[in-house]
Symmetry: C2
Subunit: 229 residues, 2 copies
DNA sequence: ACCAGTAACTGATAAATATCATATTTTTAA
DNA sequence: TTAAAAATATGATATTTATCAGTTACTGGT
């Protein structure tokens, strides 16, 4: 069953809410829905994008691979986020790969619909601009964090980030379960280092784990650690 | 002597070129020109900005201070760049400080002129959006670089970046002269480490120096170093 | 021209982090 | 279900990078 953008809740979270009825109708008519399995790419670095992807469900990592095979996760995107917008706006190929870290449902919206609205509806353009401004601020903050905080501090911060942005499940574990490797790629460290720090945090009673699931036990101490106490 | 935006060359490099005659006139009438001495701030992190600053001359570093007193330079902005745009667009206080690394001449444009045009002229908004998209790509690339390259590689990259973006003087030195401390803050390392690597590069014949000026001697080798050979 | 004060530099050492090796656990697929 | 593969975990060690301490070289102001 294909649903209409007009009735889609995730639209409330992104720039599509600034579209007019007619524009939205056009988007809805031209969009296609895709299912992406965990581990599969939505698009990859260097690829030319013919549109943007609106996330309905699941979580995607936006990352870039380096020569030595490690990749750095720049952002985690979930429900409501629009992927590929930067590439479409600047008419460049994708700078990052988008890979599902959970099974996903996304809507593909051809770039024509987007470009058309960008040129005609200043409210929409401004809304996209605001989102991009927010992403830029976050990216700047990541730069400062990586270069000024220790791996331990960044690990603590990552757990708090996951708690804030993706919440916890009924058993008190972080709702978004990442592999140890993905965690290390968010933090920007070696996988073994990330694992070691997880063990250390566990011993200190800051977190608890069950398999790959991680739960926060002492939020306060983690916060203090981020601040450098 | 106050010149008019309509005749200003630096406008060609930024989003103001998408403004209409009338909009430009309004900007020109409301703008004020400021001189900033080397080392002085244009604005500082946390400050509420009442407008944007268009760089006519000189170079500014955009950086963020950490608790321990080190600051990370996120971007270097020169002729034609518009500073504070992100803050004005998202109606937040400045995320970064802008400090002159050379004597500067900037035009202050009140945010009313900008906001007004943003709401009415989709071409202008789109142009601002494209610039922000470009900045975001660059920021993402910095994240990946910092986390995946060694300090030595990032130092090599920084010199090539300075060469590409600011050129060289008549004697073959980089036209933009930064203090060793600023270099270390661009690269994200300790000042002593930066100095040590400069010495090493000098011994290896990759660069030459004279006082704080640095010249590139072997671009090819620097490039190979960045790539990890 | 001189004399603070700052910036550049160098060495010794400590700390943080990555890498390599290997064991153990968990997941996957036949 | 069970063997193989992949992910997690831990120890030993190497490497990178930061920190501390001290020296030398510039620079701006009187």
């Amino acid at each position: 069953m294909e649903s209409r953008c007009e009735n889609c809740i995730v639209r409330q979270f992104n720039s599509l809410r600034a579209m007019s009825k007619e524009e939205l109708k056009q988007v809805s008519d031209s969009k296609t829905t895709k299912t992406i399995k965990k581990g599969q790419p939505i698009f990859e670095e260097g690829e030319k994008l013919n549109g943007v992807y609106c996330v309905r469900n699941g979580v995607s990592k936006l990352s870039k691979l380096s020569a030595n095979g490690k990749d750095q996760i720049v952002k985690l995107a979930s429900k409501g986020e629009v992927l590929g917008q930067r590439s479409v706006v600047s008419e460049e190929s994708a700078n990052l790969s988008a890979i599902a870290v959970e099974d996903m449902e996304v809507c593909f919206i051809p770039k024509e619909s987007i470009n058309n609205t960008l040129q005609k509806n200043p409210n929409f353009t401004l809304e996209v601009l605001r989102h991009m401004a927010h992403d830029l601020k976050e990216a700047d903050d990541v730069i400062v964090n990586i270069s000024q905080k220790t791996v331990k501090q960044r690990m603590a911060e990552a757990f708090l980030y996951l708690q804030n942005n993706f919440g916890e499940d009924a058993d008190g574990f972080l709702a978004l379960t990442l592999s140890r490797e993905d965690i290390s790629n968010v933090v920007g460290t070696a996988t073994e280092s990330a694992i070691r720090i997880i063990s250390e945090f566990k011993k200190k009673g800051l977190i608890h784990t069950s398999g790959k699931k991680i739960g926060i036990k002492n939020q306060q101490k983690l916060l203090e650690m981020v601040e450098g106490f």
